[in-house]
Symmetry: C2
Subunit: 159 residues, 2 copies
DNA sequence: ATATTTATGTTGCACTGCAACAAGAACCGC
DNA sequence: GCGGTTCTTGTTGCAGTGCAACATAAATAT
């Protein structure tokens, strides 16, 4: 189980990336949205790293003969986030591809390894309950919970 | 109880600010740390607003005849954060004064009102348990959980 | 009093994030 | 197919974030 959340350093990137792309394509088709070349490239870049990337890092990775402007990246990211293919890691001002196909408003807990930079998504069902209770006490109607935890991941710990 | 978490719009700023300053002074004295004029000014600016402020907003508010450089503000913020007097609201790239004297590694849940911008700190004891369990399952040793929830606060909702 | 630590000033820069407008590409109805 | 609408991308520009690196000043320690 522990291994399921943090991708092993030697796992098959190719396969998990192509699965995610396929999922994105299917979702877009279903919603009549367009996974344009740029959007696809941004998603692929994030999938290929499994770590949070900043806008400039994304530019680096998808730059060929031409360099996309930052705004282009941000627009692609906005699209990908709106459709749940990408998450923003606020504590790092960075973005990471989602590999979990969770439902729209599922609560997700991001576990961020301080050593290798990997990000795991832990299911947050139990946490969600506690959070709901906590915010209700404050007379607060919650919308989008953001949970990010820094620490050391299982793979880095083993060494 | 609901009222305790979000400061009422008409509450006594003066008093709650001076209490927090006094607390910061005491803590600094106890730890042989210096609450210098700049650090104090930054803390006071944040206390006076009860909303998250960005670095430039802080500069605006403490600028007299001279304008402190951004780095000066960031350094003061680093100090205040290290000592637990100020929290960073990552989802907004902003900072807010802490008015709760919680213990060093207490888990705090930030409730951020999308309408008025106020930030409440809800106690997160129950959430902490669930989170610990969740991250342990992932073989993850957690350090500093960050929980931010956007929504509508009790005061704004009443209208 | 001098050395050491600690804090602030100064300069400079890379990165974030987006607004506003222009131009191009895809889709729709006729 | 054609023109109009909508969606997407390109271009320019800018305010804000966040900090590195070095110089200077202030406080503490010896």
């Amino acid at each position: 189980m522990a291994r399921a959340i943090f991708p092993a350093p030697d796992h098959d990137h190719e396969r998990c990336a192509s699965t995610a792309i396929a999922h994105a394509e299917a979702q877009c088709a279903a919603r009549a949205q367009r996974l344009t070349p740029i959007r696809r490239q941004v998603l692929e870049a994030l999938l290929a790293s499994h770590k949070p990337l900043g806008a400039y890092e994304i530019i680096e990775r998808i730059a060929g003969d031409t360099r996309p402007a930052p705004i282009t990246i941000y627009r692609a990211l906005d699209f990908l986030r709106d459709n749940g293919f990408v998450h923003r890691i606020a504590s790092r001002n960075a973005f990471v591809a989602c590999v979990h196909n969770h439902a729209d408003d599922d609560l997700v807990v991001f576990l961020i390894c301080e050593r290798c930079g990997a990000v795991g998504e832990a299911p947050g069902a139990g946490v969600a309950e506690a959070l709901k209770a906590s915010s209700r006490t404050a007379g607060f109607s919650a919308k989008s919970p953001l949970i990010e935890i820094a620490g050391i991941c299982s793979h880095c710990r083993e060494r």
